[in-house]
Amino acid sequence: MVARDTDAERASSVETARQQAIREEIARLRALLHEARPPHEARTPTGEVDRAASPAEWEARLATAEDLNARLRASEAFTARLLAASRDSIQVLALDGTVQWLTEAGRLDAAAIGSTWAASWPEPGDRIAAEVALAAARAGRTGRFRAPSGPREAMRWWDVVVSPIQGPDGIPERLLAVARDVTEAHRAEEQQALLMQEMAHRLKNTLALVQAVAAQTLRSAPSLESAMDAFNGRLMALSDAHDVLIRGAWAEADLAAVVEGAMAPHIDAMDGRFAAAGPRVGLGPRSVLTLSLMLHELATNAAKYGALSSPTGRVAVTWALAGEAEAMLHLRWEESGGPPVVPPRRGGFGSRLIERSLVHSFGGRVSLRFPREGAVMDLEAPLAAMQDGTA
């Protein structure tokens, strides 16, 4: 740490008591020198008679002393600025853990001097971690822990390293505790852990849903081959619904996007024969999955037996908000222009899903009718239930 002249100049304002003592001593010596006659006999600071020293030599020695003093001041000032520049809280502790000195960036004020450092951590577990770190440093090693401090609403997290300050004999003389503010990183880690937990939860729920779809498909399928076809179609419908949900950050999806996503696999073959219309309505993840599966079942059925099985058939999906404060969602699936309708057998996956799922999950009503002109489904559900955020 080499001092520069500029440092020496700036340092003069923060002169320490020791520096002041040296400066005053030099001034005193200089005054003595000028008073002393004859100048051939002078005394060294230790009192011996220094017959060799001439006034010029004394001046030279004083100049050297002044220069050394300036360098010392600069060096101390630089050290002070260095410590002030650090964003870390730096504390010097006695071997017993008492605070002896600390930087201003610290989480404690000057009143902390003389206090027990380990006791300054609010959590009992962290006080133990602090004691363990102190013991490590006393033994010549490095102790490290992470702990919070401060009021709950403005809590900061610290990464704390305690290391020994060795004396000339190499034995720890005092301890150095450096605490770095890692609050941002800590919050990010907490957030990530929360996201992982949330993702694990969603994944489990999705697996449970796929399990139910698989089991229900096998229960109602006439053959393994048809079960395979139906299951793949349903899995694809769930996958498309996830795409729609991910676009809305899993919080909300636009009903129009849900309808479009569910119809996309069936739309190629029916250029201009499908129409969707309705106001903008945001739906929650649960209803997006349920509704996507329902629309998939209706579309699959229409492609096999209904309006989408003939070149002249059409499908319209329309929706509106009704009731007090537009609290009810009405959605209609209407087929027309297809072959004369023969009502499907009851109890299949599609009709059970439509009849039970929405009614059960959202407290709504569904009617699925099969007039000769084409299948019609009307559903009605409280919008609030369909907008709920979980899946």
């Binding site: 449970a208 139910a212 229900q216 649960r286 039970r356 009614v359 959202f362 407290g363 009503r365 979980t390």
Partner: protein
């Protein structure tokens, strides 16, 4: 072919073998997802249970008040529509109807220290249907 939301609880009574009891034990199934409920109800009905259904805790309490023959409660945890989640329902039921054993199922890891009432069982989702049936039979047998 109209469904009516006021028709809860729905009975899906089916005859089936049951080694534990002579009659089909009555289970109240509380699950907000219609598809999961449908599958669980089918599984339990096939295993010889009489299944009552409720989509959320408030409906479940109504069923319990009107059906003294409920022998076991099986509930999901996350049920946004009701006024309480499955853990709170499980605790309430074990206080109000101590003779009814409780089984909690959920996809959200394992329960916290104070989530479950004493003696209640927990099964993580997804579960093997045979494990669910076995656990429910055990639970009913122990309570009998």
């Amino acid at each position: 072919m109209t469904s009516d939301p006021d028709r809860h609880p729905q009975d899906s009574r089916q005859d089936g073998p049951d080694p534990a009891c002579d009659a089909a034990p009555v289970v109240l199934l509380v699950e907000d997802d219609g598809l999961l409920l449908m599958e669980a109800a089918d599984t339990l009905a096939e295993a010889g249970f009489t299944v009552l259904e409720a989509p959320h805790a408030d409906q479940a309490l109504k069923v319990l008040e009107s059906r003294p023959d409920v022998e076991v409660l099986m509930t999901d945890v996350d049920m946004p529509l009701g006024s309480m989640n499955g853990f709170a329902l499980a605790r309430l039921v074990s206080r109000r109807w101590p003779r009814i054993p409780v089984l909690v199922v959920s996809g959200m890891g394992s329960p916290g220290p104070h989530d479950m009432p004493p003696g209640a069982r927990f099964i993580p989702k997804p579960y093997a249907p045979s494990a669910l049936v076995r656990t429910l039979h055990d639970t009913v047998r122990r309570a009998a």
